[in-house]
Amino acid sequence: MTKTNFNIPLSGDRSMPIEGFDTSLHLKHAADQAKARGFDRFPIIDVDSHHYETESFSEILEYLEDPVLQQLAKTASASRHGAFGMLPGNIGYQDMGGRVARYPLRQLEKTGPEAHRDITLTKRWMDALAVDIAILFPTPMLNLGLHPQIEIEVALSRAYNRWLTEKILPNDPRLRSMLYLPFNDPQATYEMAKEFAGKPGVLGYMVTATRNRAVHNDAYMKTYAFLEEAGLPLGFHASYNWNDQTMAMMNKFLSVHALGFAISNMVHLTNWVINALPVRFPKLKVIWIESGLAWIPFLMQRLDHEYYMRKSEVPSLTKPPSDYMREMFYTSQPMERPNDIRELEQTFRMINAPTQLMYSSDYPHWDFDVPSVIYDLPFLSEEEKRAILGGNAARVFNIDIKEKLAKSI
């Protein structure tokens, strides 16, 4: 049920009473930017955005097929709060003490009966950002790969995927997803990939990167072979895990967030390349999601440096790791903005950004990027901007989009 007011605690014994929230008003300046820049002239595809699936958790639980687990989950949710007890907890302060106000105020936003609340809220920000098609990912479930009970990752992800493909995606063609794969169970991963391929709105599959499973394990080869054959991209979505031993040495959210997202994808990408998976599955499209961009030149240089000395360890590689990395795909957010723009330009050059980079907003999360962060870059041509904002994604995901679907401009 939507709340009607919220009192944000402030500094100095003050507080700020808020009686409503409207995403369209919150993002009015993004809509102004879209109009000023003429975003109505070309499609924009957002390859990494989010919803809060736990707001629909009672609906998702209806899709749990294990009756005992379903009863446990329903009771835990009803007697405590939301998904509490079912999802691995994650310490964090994304809202910065309420400074990023849409976190606490989201609960105040009103929606009508015409569509599922999830769809209505998603399309509001899409229209403001002039995003035509958005690939939606979950939020709290990004840490489901850390659940110690593997059978719960399998059961909950399957319930989520069913809910998403039966109640959300079929009801609006602008909403798409790369479905969650329960990677801690390789056989279930394979079966999930096969079962949901071809469902409405399913553009590929996503593995959450915060987990302790090596991507080169032989048990995953049949899944990779299936995805390659089916032409379905595989994305690795980064996150952070403050309970990880390395992360646990850091005491600030800033530190854990800055390093955690990059490290989780660096580990998997290193395993992916060094174990010659690009050689074994040359047509499988692999996407590295939500780690920013600065880590890629670093990793290219580190791996190449060792490759030339230790070639005997990687006989299947026929070229340096960076060459394989330049054939992979990356999402843009959170795009670092160095004071010296030449550093960013160098990163774009090193990753072949005009063909390999895909815009992502990460909305509604705290460090989201509006499309103008790409469009306003001085070193890109108009053609390159449009490719990164939509054209590359249309090619990678085989999306046939010719007309503008966003409404606000």
Partner: protein, 122 residues
């Protein structure tokens, strides 16, 4: 000079703000401890509504004499307004970016006349 009416004097309490606009220029006008401050409502980061977020005192570290960390506290004098999109903080009294004081929001003159507060959006 284009004077835009903001409020009657005494109408805004300390901590209140108004967003006014003229020909597409949005300005946030703050009242804080009997003074008025006016800045562009376009965040220098990604263009968010910089003046529409929370007012928060500056966070400060408190160290012990041996330089070990004791705690954090809110400043008693330094107050910031925070862009609600991403949390960029601006010094309320100068409009400078707290994390990069070399950059600042455009400020606008306040004119108080005949019991009214105006901002000069030029």
């Amino acid at each position: 000079m284009t004077e835009v009416f903001v409020a009657k004097t005494g109408e805004m309490a300390s901590g209140d703000r108004r967003i006014v606009s003229h020909e597409g220029v949005e300005v946030g006008v703050f009242c804080w401890e009997d003074k008025y401050y006016a800045y562009s409502n376009i965040c220098l980061h990604q263009g968010g509504p910089a003046c529409e977020g929370l007012l928060m005192h500056q966070v400060e570290d408190v160290l012990r004499p041996d330089r070990s960390f004791k705690q954090q506290k809110f400043s008693e004098t330094e107050i910031n307004f925070v862009c609600p999109w991403h949390g960029y903080e601006y010094d309320l009294k100068t409009g400078r970016v707290v994390a990069d004081p070399a950059r600042r929001l455009k400020s606008f003159p306040i004119i108080i006349r005949e019991g009214n507060v105006h901002v000069d959006i030029n």
